[in-house]
Symmetry: C2
Subunit: 331 residues, 2 copies
């Protein structure tokens, strides 16, 4: 495999993990990082990550600064959740011919909320000869790409139902807080309804599924409820009293003419028993898939980003969907 | 979706099922069939399939005859199992610019046994502006593409193990015979070792997995044993006495420096209890996937062929691998 020069945009926990995994790949050369944090600027990425293998390339405060010193083929972008926020950061990259793999949840299916920005970004990609892909584990794999893949052997698909139970106790602090740990249940639900808490990208997963199956959903609704702690829970990151919120139960339902075609049901909470990913394709044949224990969280997210790099470079320029490029694969 | 004109090469049971499924797709126009059987020549495909929706297009005895009357975009090829036999049938198609989706098992990874023919076919595709893809359920999905897809979220993959148990009682007669039903176990094993019985394509599945994971296997061996009937078994197609062969237990093992990297283990026999498809990715994360009941056989094979047609037409011309084109999807 030809060496791919990569840079990392966003040097938070996921960004640093991405760099560390990238450093383990013989086909990647790390050429720099970008973060607004002035404390990181100018420092070698090996020092920031604490991993010697990441090497001597440095952190810069902006894309412009990095481009004076380096010419990445691909930037891993782990910074924001909305297309709107991602656009401002990514558009200058693709204008410079740099392809982008992003963890931005809405980028999994950007046309859902931002069709105009998606069209502009696609045009910018084509003008610059670059690709943009939104991916991850969820959204990006468990509740969308993997179910789509299963339908490839179906004569007929009537409905797709995915259930995911994640034990948040094993996850990083920001996630434990994002799911409302320690809030009053009502307070969590208020924040959820303001898009300030909960799991991002569930509607995007449903939209990608519908797109692949040729379904025009009449209705796509999402609800989020607090999971309530039945006992006091203490993790290294949060402390939750009995009766407080210890996670989310989030549900997206897509309908056509009143008929339920898609349900995506995710419970992500502290001390969740029996974590798993399950998918039922109702059709011909009907299929019941179970991944016992579920697909582990942050490590797998980072892997999905790094593994996507060689695949996007084989695709023609444009704003890509996970399902349009080659089958996901370890790289 | 733009209408795709399709023809069917091979009007055996799988070919006829392919035509019937194709006829249910609004984006397919059936323009003809090809079969050497003189009893079928000239007859409308609706009559041969017994399905009115298949329409008035006719069966021809050769590609040349069909091309005088019709111009398919895609031919579904369900006729042979070896690259060598397929090449002679498919090369004239791609020379005429017609793309091919084939159930030929060895075409899943043609470079394994026929690297020179594969290179010639790839060149012919590029010269003619056509694509060739080998696909199916097994090989083509359960033991190769689906496990590859799971590795897309892995930081590291140490080994891949797939187990498949198929209850052959529910399958068509030719399959029940192919797995040796009613033979003496020794006789089956003799035929297996001469490549005259058993499941085709298991080594190809292993080769595709290794290719995607970047593994150069030092050793890839395949063994086949008879499953022995514990009691008399009668199906609509075969009659098996206790002690006779009632199916196969076939195993492919791939090693690097003595270490087992891939095991593909398939049991396909009459009255097999608890049919299922299971896959374990040993790595980071380790994943255990189970499809209870397994992916049903012939109907799903036909679906995989038909569903692949729009995806190959989006790919650049050439001899394609399932993992290089878009993610499998119902179409």
């Amino acid at each position: 495999m030809k060496t791919i020069k990569v840079a990392q945009f966003g040097l938070g926990p996921i960004g640093l993990e991405t760099l560390k995994l990238a450093a383990s790949k013989p086909w990647i050369e790390i050429v720099g990082g970008i973060d607004i944090d002035p404390a990181k600027a100018g420092k070698p990425l090996a020092k920031i990550t604490g991993d010697k293998r990441v090497g001597a390339a440095r952190a810069y405060r902006s894309l412009d600064e990095l481009l004076k010193k380096a010419a990445p083929d691909v930037i891993f972008h782990t910074a924001v959740s909305t297309v709107r926020a991602a656009y401002a950061q990514i558009e200058p990259m693709v204008r410079n011919g740099i392809s982008v793999v992003s963890s931005c949840e809405e980028l999994l299916f950007p046309a859902l909320r931002e069709p105009q920005l998606a069209a502009k970004l696609d045009a910018a990609c084509k003008a610059g000869g670059a690709r943009v892909l939104g991916t991850g584990v969820n959204p990006g794999f468990v509740m969308d790409v993997l179910p789509v893949c299963l339908t490839g052997v179906c004569r007929h698909v009537q409905a797709v139902h995915v259930q995911r139970v994640v034990d948040a106790t094993t996850r990083r602090g920001p996630l434990q807080r994002k799911i409302g740990s320690g809030l009053a249940p009502k307070e969590f639900e208020r924040l959820f309804n303001q898009n300030k808490a909960g799991h991002a990208g569930l509607k995007e997963s449903a939209a990608l599924l519908a797109h692949c199956l040729g379904w025009k959903l009449d209705e796509l609704i999402e609800t989020g409820k607090a999971m309530v702690a039945l006992q006091d829970i203490v993790t290294p990151h949060v402390s939750v009293k009995r009766g407080e919120c210890c996670g989310i139960h989030q549900l997206a339902v897509g309908r056509i003419q009143g008929q339920v075609k898609i349900t995506l049901d995710i419970k992500m909470y502290l001390q969740a028993p029996n974590p798993h990913d399950a998918c039922q394709i109702v059709g011909e044949p009907t299929m019941n898939m179970l991944i016992n224990g579920g697909v582990a969280g942050d490590g797998a997210t980072v892997a999905s980003l790094v593994n996507a790099a060689p695949r996007i470079l084989k695709a023609p320029p444009g704003l890509l969907l996970m399902t349009d490029i080659g089958v996901p694969s370890f790289a």
